[in-house]
């Protein structure tokens, strides 16, 4: 039987991937290649931030059930150290060029949509509600990022080359999305969490179809990075957190 501790861990994984990727997308504000993209990408970031807040609020409730008091959204976001974060390594990878950002988003969005589709059926009412709400936003994200992979891949010689190397470089961060540990397995056995491995064939099929349209080659490397979901991160997360948390740490409890 899955414990509340495992449930908390799982919900924080969902929250953290959303939050960290939202922060990354926020770094593009004012730097987008064109005004339209600047706004569109920021919209995606804000969608993810909104989803992170819902997950954090639920995490706080679970924590309160577990130990009497639960942390607030701000406490989760701004007062944890790097090793406490449970986001996917993919989410914390730097923005790079626009192809890198697009590839990261594409891999994430396709997985995210499949995951939320499954979570919308979770017997845990709160998970199901949050997932159903988020799914509407994420379906659009997935469509949009696939559009860009196709346009950049099947664009100019330079955009094709950049898109292909971005797709190749980030590939090793995708395995983690489908590798369940004890936490996920215990929750998935009860249907509360998604069966991570079961999403892989669907994800690969979708990725392959878009890459084919984009005239890009699907990477085949088998070795995958992992650790994000257990709190073992790449060196990029520390820098991201330093920027994201600096204001709250300098002015604790600051309000707009």
């Amino acid at each position: 039987m899955a414990s509340d501790g495992q449930l908390l861990d799982y919900v924080l994984r969902l929250a953290d991937s959303d939050l960290i990727l939202a922060q990354r997308l926020g770094e593009w504000v004012g730097h987008g290649p064109v005004l339209e993209e600047d706004i569109a990408l920021t919209n995606v970031g804000l969608d993810l931030l909104g989803q992170a807040r819902l997950w954090f609020a639920y995490a706080g409730e679970i924590e309160a059930r577990l130990v009497g008091t639960g942390r607030s959204e701000d406490q989760f976001a701004f007062l944890r150290e790097g090793g406490d974060f449970r986001n996917l390594l993919l989410a914390e990878q730097p923005n790079g060029n626009y192809a890198d950002t697009t590839a990261r988003q594409f891999y994430f969005d396709v997985w995210h949509e499949l995951l939320l589709t499954r979570l919308a059926q979770s017997p845990d009412q709160r998970i199901a509600e949050i997932a159903a709400k988020a799914l509407k936003e994420v379906s659009y994200h997935a469509e949009r990022s696939a559009d860009w992979v196709i346009r950049l891949g099947d664009g100019t010689e330079q955009s094709h080359a950049r898109m292909q190397s971005a797709i190749d470089d980030l590939w090793m961060y995708t395995g983690e999305m489908f590798a369940a540990d004890d936490t996920e397995s215990a929750l998935a056995a009860e249907g509360i969490a998604a069966d991570a491995g079961a999403l892989l064939p669907l994800w690969r099929e979708r990725i392959a179809s878009v890459l084919a349209q984009a005239t890009l080659t699907m990477p085949s490397a088998a070795w995958m990075q992992r650790g994000g979901k257990q709190g073992v991160h790449s060196e990029h997360l520390g820098h991201l957190l330093a920027e994201m948390q600096s204001l709250h740490r300098a002015h604790p409890g600051a309000q707009w």
Partner: protein, 94 residues
């Protein structure tokens, strides 16, 4: 060869029953992305239920230089307005 994305004119229908209304323009590489960009630029605050995009270059416009021959003749023809009929008081909303 131009590397600029083409310009698109954006029309939004704010609610069912109303007509699409011109709201502005934006750049996009193709029609499909123009719809998506319009969604992100012009409907962020719940402004619409439907979007039309039209390539700006496909719009044929009247020439501002021909304003006088185009529009001035209409201004002296008040009899084109249906204001010369006595209306019964019971008829509302005309």
């Amino acid at each position: 060869m131009s590397h600029e994305w083409p310009l698109w004119e954006i029309f939004i229908r704010s609610q069912h029953g109303l007509a699409h209304k011109h709201v502005g323009s934006l750049h996009a590489p193709d029609a499909e992305m123009a719809v998506k960009n319009a969604r992100d630029v012009y409907t962020r605050r719940n402004e619409g239920v439907s979007i039309w995009v039209v390539k700006s270059e496909d719009i044929v416009a009247s020439s501002p230089g021909k304003k006088e021959p185009m529009f001035e003749p209409a201004s002296s023809k008040v009899y084109r307005h249906p204001t010369f009929f006595p209306m019964p008081d019971e008829v509302k909303h005309i």
